[in-house]
Subunit: 411 residues, 2 copies
């Protein structure tokens, strides 16, 4: 399957294209894969070129965008020209447009000329009604491929894909049955090591599609097999199991969840409570946990203790400890973790104190040095890491490491 | 300019491609426009095909992704094959890779074979060092076009574009001279209103390129004029001034800074201190402030008070107030703001309490309702907003609104 996205707002970078990803996800269960995706601005020649290229590379080409009522909506015209078919009025679409506009502008208002244009389709097209907007979609044969023209407005596109396009693809027998996928998330393992391991586990990989992605420092591995290929499905299960054995506790989620979500779900399922004491991460660990729905039962509170006074008064860190060892130290990290767990009345306390930079580093305590404290059931301990990168990167990596240490400590 | 994005995570819809939009934005000030953008999966033939198509359509082709160390990283191989040049080892890159890995894995660990591959480039390439990762980029001539291969990791891509690609394009005279740009940031003004206003201010716009982008709910307006066009530069200044008058205090930054950075800089410049009390935003306001370098002198602490117990004990909110009005109320927001300012000893206290969803809403207090408290010089007041969207969107909008209220309150 190929995808042509049109719109100068996309090529100029004013809008991030989320349609392509949602289309791919909606089509994946039908075994449809995007093999070619091209984006061009609102330009007749560029759209025609893109459509021709896509037709030569896939049996089904989805063209998204350019069906609106304005002068830079060119898809209808271009497809008529490329296919050599005149545009003809589709009466039911015109009636639907009139109805929608009447509901919005009041009854009796005539349909403006530019909205009338939205009821035009190249002759011989199959019309796909748009349940969420005025622009109708349509499908037509072109050079041995099916072209499916859909609006670019995400809400309308989603509604049409669900209600029109997927059933249409099945009716036309253009889509296979669904693929089956297993996923897992590793943390603290470089992508290259994970990739290397897959080849060395001795599991035959035929019929498996293996994808690795890195998101916020966690490696997600997705093992896909075609629906009906039982052998490949079994190999995916065996590989999943072998990876789990190989990486042990570095497997942050056997379902491929993001780390924060995996941690949150474990806390909720085991009914454990946690509180956080953050210094250099400035609330980022809290933010990642708080983004997961339902976490409020487990996540009691966080103190972002930037100032030493805050560490002392909110968390009960002895001032002498800070004087003797400095705020970035094993001793203070441990005291912060113990302090937040105690003062919050939480099962678990996690503390982060480090030097995010760009200033504040010394030879002994360089930028990127971060101490973590973890307190579980009243027992606290500390670990350190040295992160590279700029302030944001150090903060991001430290926050993810804090979540991982929390994950490993949940009783 | 053309863009080839590679990665099965993109074509499969597992990752939304944000690189294309950021690249287009970074290149726009050089007068470079993306005329053709194609995305293909990790497949040799598809990448080669895409590169050939792009070469025929632009003088400069940026290929993003596929420079990593794993088996699905194919860009290096494909470009070598398409250009008919063997891959050769680039020693300085190998040394840089060894250094980076030593910093991460400890000294003396040999560079793994797959990371060594990242130091290979097609013979005759110009190497573009990667300041943020192991994969080096490179540029080579192909069929009359320049191919510039860059990593797909957004952080690495951004760093390379800024430090290597833009200067390289200028050196090669592949980009026009930098244009002169003025920027400003509005908060609380819809993009369409801002856009509409620009046309109605009576300022002639000839010679000006005007771009509006929306980032985290703030509208950034960039007014560009060609270097040397003094008339247009003057019109940009006049328009900037007129917009400032038109939008008054909704102008969050007359320099086009992101809202959090504008707030942080004002706090630092005026030597004011702030402390935060967050409930439904879960640390997001703190995180946004803490991301700005140098903020630690102004940002004393934050309490993420999810539990009512935390609001009572950490912030001194009277339990009766929560019982009578509920945690999401003007009264509690005011008490939280006053409490955090007092207990932290800060000039300013900002509080956020609301219902981020998906659960927890009622008819009277629906999901999306958020109360904000602001305390400045001991005087506290509250405001509410009703945000639409899912949990993340509500949290994001609430956090930005909190920053904006803080900005307006800084004495």
């Amino acid at each position: 399957m190929a995808l042509v996205c049109t719109g100068t707002e996309l090529t100029a970078g004013r809008t991030v294209d989320t349609n392509a990803a949602r289309l791919a996800q909606a089509l994946a269960p039908l075994g449809a894969r995007i093999v070619f995706h091209v984006t061009v601005g609102d330009d007749r020649a560029a759209i025609a070129d893109a459509v021709r290229l896509a037709c030569a590379r896939a049996r089904v080409v989805i063209v998204s965008g350019g069906l609106g009522p304005t002068r830079d909506d060119l898809t209808r015209d271009v497809l008529a020209a490329v296919s050599g078919r005149p545009l003809v009025l589709h009466r039911p679409s015109l009636e639907r447009i009139a109805e929608r506009l009447a509901a919005r502008l009041g009854p009796g208002v005539p349909v403006p000329e530019n909205n009338r244009l939205q009821a035009l389709v190249p002759r011989g097209s199959e019309v796909l009604p748009n349940p969420a907007g005025t622009a109708a979609g349509f499908a037509l044969r072109l050079r041995g491929a099916w072209i499916v023209a859909l609006p670019g407005v995400p809400r309308e596109l989603d509604a049409m894909v669900e209600q029109d396009v997927l059933p249409w693809l099945r009716r036309k027998k253009l889509a296979r049955r669904a693929t089956r996928a297993r996923a897992l998330t590793l943390f603290g393992i470089p992508e290259s090591v994970a990739d290397d391991a897959i080849g060395r586990l001795g599991v035959p990989l035929d019929g498996l599609e293996i994808a690795l992605t890195v998101d916020e420092g966690a490696v997600k591995i997705i093992l896909s097999s075609s629906a009906g290929d039982r052998g490949a499905a079994r190999r995916a299960d065996v590989l999943h199991c072998a990876l789990r054995r190989r990486f042990g506790n570095a497997m942050a989620s056997p379902e491929g969840l993001p780390l924060a979500e995996a941690v949150a779900r474990t806390l909720i399922r085991r009914r454990r409570t946690v509180a956080l004491a953050e210094s250099c991460t400035g609330g980022l660990v809290a933010r990642k946990l708080a983004a997961v729905p339902g976490i409020s039962a487990s996540f009691l509170e966080a103190v972002v203790a930037y100032a030493n006074r805050s560490k002392i008064r909110r968390l009960g860190v002895p001032p002498a400890l800070i004087r003797r060892h400095g705020a970035v130290s094993a001793e203070v990290a441990t005291a912060m973790a113990r302090g937040i767990a105690r003062t919050a009345g939480a099962d678990l306390g996690v503390a982060v104190t480090g030097i995010a930079g760009p200033g504040g580093g010394t030879a002994e305590k360089p930028v990127g040095l971060v101490w973590f404290g973890v307190c579980a059931r009243g027992r606290a301990r500390a670990e350190s890491r040295r992160f590279r990168g700029d302030r944001r990167e150090v903060q991001e990596r430290a926050a993810m490491t804090a979540l991982d240490l929390l994950r490993r400590a949940i009783p």
